[in-house]
Amino acid sequence: MERVDMSLRELIAGARSGSGEAFATLVEPYLGRALSAATLIVGSADEGADVVQESLESAWRGLPKSRHPEAFGMWFRRQVVRNAWKVARRRRATTSISDSWMDPIDHIEEGLSRRNLARAFSSLGDADRVLLTLRYHLAVPIAEAADLLGIPEGTVQSRVHHAIERLRAAYDAEERA
């Protein structure tokens, strides 16, 4: 554990001193999840990548001023979610999740369910997508989600419940289509 902490400190120190490679090593563990989360929220892989780029830029600029570099991962995740949400708000109603997101279809029924899930998810409002991505994709704890969204924990739970209900309704509609 100590070695990990030291490594993190060294990477942060390196990045702060201007080492791009140290910065890349620092952010690398978070990039995959950041990209998938951003894509889920904005509904476009290209824009998701742009969101992560923006967040990298923010992280690079903010690192020298960071008071709690040990919390870099959480901070970076928040940047990604917030940036993605901003983009999603701007481009509402144009969201569609590519079929390429779906796993290879082992059998038709499961494949159709996944496709319909993806379509149902992409039909949700941006706030629902953000919330569900936070909770189910990033596994962000309720308390952290509440803090990030600026709402009480109970409200998070309630909104998640209602988002799931809307998702279910959208999914059922896809099934009937």
Binding site: E21, A24, L31, L35, R61, Y136
Partner: protein, 202 residues
Amino acid sequence: MDDNFESQFAAWIGGVAADPMETARLREDAAGIGLRPRARIPRLAAAVATGVLAVAVSGIVLVWLNTAGLMSPVGQTSGSQTDQFTTSIAGGLDLEITADEVARLVTAHLEATKQQNAPLFDGVEVDIVSVDAMTFADALASRGEGEAGGESTGMDRPVWLVTANGPFLTQRGRGSDPIIGISGHYIIEDSTAQTLGYGINS
């Protein structure tokens, strides 16, 4: 889909994975902290075009000084001016770029703009302040900004200042903050500068 909808949804969304190639590209971006140009170049061009248009509308002279001899301070920068510009830098600029690369970028955009609208720069004096490893305050001092009495010609002219902290396009009022400013973030990756980001302060 069975009744356990939530758990199946959780399994689906939890299994959504990013494109490994795109992730690798982002890692490369981070290493170079040189973001791919697709989202950056238009912003850069827009920022420069906006600044240039503002220059034209205001009847301002864009100043371009590019010789080392002009870098030696010819005046003193007042404390208040130093503070103002230090604040500007702290508020948005903290990355490095070589003056030569910024000069190349600026030149390219000025040339492009000139071609699109030739009258814009006809007869306009263009100087470049190319400042490598100098502070913004030093750069101002090198232009004579802040001289006692405040009547140097530079004070009423916009100046493209290329500093270690990035490029600025400023219109200097007497003792005032920049009226027009293009502040940006650039980074040098090996010999090739790539745009990291760009914003407009106006």
